[in-house]
């Protein structure tokens, strides 16, 4: 604890007349959103656990399962061609769902959301900043994962439409995962959100078609697993990037439904304090 006084001695101007003359005003909304998104991105990149979740685990899975024949993926895929779309789906889930749920849950617990509520940054502005943060981190993840995958011999089998369809699938997946992340973070205690978000992550990693092919599951389970958000995202990405499908209608619709339901529930149930 410093003993340096606050005003009057620390600097001569603190008690000078006119120093505190009011001059309030909100900055332009875009500037506020950019500042908040930059802050949240820095927080995320500085946090070791979050980085493990969003980068280290996806890259480890990509490397380990592609270099060693740990699983027979079937379907005539090379290992890396099967894995890359699944690991992209996992990366989206880790950032938009698990990481966002945990970060927001603790922001709520520490009163950070409450304090932000007293600033000129409106709630839609804060949501926009969180979305920008998630998308920014996803772009970083995508760049690293794609580079590593290419280094490991990935050769996508895709139509030109993939340039549009892959971002569409990722955006819909992001919207769906974000909705449920905020639903957890805005309704449960921070510790419960942490536990639930990690548990759901591990379960969906196992049954979401990320590294274990859905074809390996019992025949009756497969249609259900493909309707889960992770299953729909990994299946959709795989059909576009490994099977040269033009537009995976069912997976796009599945993710769109999850997105609408998740965001509607979050908007209805989210409690800021």
């Amino acid at each position: 604890m410093t003993t340096q006084p606050i005003a009057g001695q620390a600097t001569a101007t603190a008690t000078d007349q006119g120093t505190w003359t009011p001059g309030p005003g909100a900055a332009p909304m875009r500037q506020m959103i950019a500042a908040q998104a930059a802050q949240e991105t820095r927080q995320l990149l500085r946090n070791g656990e979050q980085l493990t979740l969003t980068l280290v685990i996806p890259l480890l899975l990509l490397a380990a399962f592609s270099l060693e024949p740990l699983i027979d993926f079937g379907g005539g895929y090379t290992r890396i061609d099967f894995l890359t779309p699944g690991v992209i789906a996992l990366a989206v889930m880790s950032t938009a769902f698990t990481s966002q749920a945990i970060a927001t849950g603790f922001e709520r617990r520490y009163g950070v959301l409450k304090r932000l509520g007293a600033t000129p940054l409106s709630r839609p502005g804060l949501i926009a900043a969180k979305t920008a943060t998630v998308v920014g981190v996803e772009l970083l993840q995508a760049a690293i994962i794609l580079l590593v995958a290419l280094g490991l011999g990935w050769s996508p089998d895709a139509t030109p439409a993939a340039i549009v369809v892959v971002p569409l699938l990722v955006l819909l997946g992001t919207a769906a995962f974000s909705g449920f992340a905020l639903l957890l973070a805005g309704t449960l205690r921070a510790e419960a959100t942490l536990a639930a978000a990690n548990l759901i992550y591990v379960v969906l990693l196992g049954i979401g078609g990320v590294v274990f092919p859905l074809t390996k599951f019992p025949r009756g389970a497969r249609p259900v697993l493909e309707l889960l958000p992770t299953g729909a995202l990994s299946t959709g990405l795989r059909s576009v990037l490994a099977n040269a499908a033009a537009f995976p209608v069912r997976d796009v619709l599945t993710l769109a439904v999850w997105a609408v339901v998740g965001i509607a529930l979050a908007a209805r149930c989210f409690r800021w304090e």
């Binding site: 410093t2 001695q9 505190w20 900055a27």
Partner: protein
């Protein structure tokens, strides 16, 4: 204003007004409704009944227009634990058109050496000072400070008082809650004492403590109060409570030398030596305890 939480009525018909550019202190025991009142004014919750206007705006309906003009210091927390102090202020400064320079502001609150220290590693008093800096960062017209000096050491507390005085001198309105009567007495133009969600007293510190002069002394118990009164100037009042402690009051006036002389002469006639003789006016704490009682609150 009325605010209920389920079956509990936290604010029960409270009424207060704070002048622009003035320092208003809201005092009350724990659970009196201080924070609830402030949080309704800050727009965090809606009142169940009554009208609330801050700078002429409805905090619930005109939040977008009001928030840029108001600075807020919450009772605790609100800052991300892992974010360094300087970085936090810099981010917040991007929310305002003409913010104070953040390096200068860190210096003002004595945190320059801790610019890179994460919030969670700051001491309680340092966290309060960072929170105070955040409240004044955007050149607000009005600041709400909820127990601003709780957890501060005496140096930081005095420095905070200087800052509040400087804000007021430049025309910034300050509404603060506090448990420190000295803080309210020093800073406030206007003191509102609330209890059980209602205003129980309202006025300047001088009005509340009154000009009533008091003379206290200790002596042997059971002196003849009637005889003492007869020896004093007209209009004085005297009582013994508890045994052996005497209080002489001059309602609406001050203790004059003649009164002191009369008391000591009366004592000398009886061979009584008054000890711990004090002449004082009532303190805000006297008034506070008189109005809100001495029972401990939850």
């Amino acid at each position: 204003m009325v605010k209920r939480y389920g079956p509990t009525t936290a604010v029960d018909g409270l009424s207060l007004s704070a002048g622009r550019g003035k320092v208003t202190a809201i005092l009350g025991p724990n659970g009196a409704g201080k924070t609830t009142t402030i949080e309704v004014c800050e727009g965090y919750r809606n009142a169940d009944a009554g009208t609330v206007r801050v700078l002429g705006l409805d905090p619930a309906r005109d939040a977008g227009r009001l928030k840029p003009r108001v600075g807020v210091m919450l009772q605790a927390g609100g800052i991300p634990p892992a974010v360094p102090a300087g970085e936090y202020l810099r981010t917040l400064s991007r929310f305002h058109v003409k913010p104070h320079d953040t390096a200068w502001l860190l210096d003002i609150v004595g945190l320059t050496a801790h610019a890179r220290t994460p919030y969670k590693r700051l001491s309680g008093g340092q966290q309060q000072r960072l929170s105070l800096a955040a409240a004044v960062l955007g050149r607000p017209e009005l600041v709400f400070l909820d127990e601003p000096t709780a957890g501060m050491d005496p140096q930081a507390r005095h420095a905070t008082w200087d800052l509040v005085s400087a804000l007021k001198a430049d025309g910034v309105g300050v509404i603060l809650t506090t448990h420190f009567m000295e803080e309210a007495e020093r800073l406030a133009d206007h003191v509102v004492i609330i209890d059980h969600g209602r205003t129980v007293a309202d006025g300047s510190p001088a009005t509340l403590t009154g000009s009533q002069g008091q003379l206290r002394f200790r002596a042997e118990p059971d002196l003849d109060i009637d005889s003492l009164l007869a020896a004093l100037p007209a209009g004085s009042a005297a009582k013994e409570s508890p045994a052996g402690r005497y209080l002489i009051e001059v309602p609406g006036g001050t203790v004059q030398p003649a009164l002191l002389a009369a008391v000591t002469a009366w004592c000398a006639d009886r061979g009584v030596l008054p000890s711990s003789l004090q002449i004082e006016s009532r303190t805000l704490e006297d008034v506070f305890l008189e109005l809100t009682g001495r029972d401990l609150r939850g």
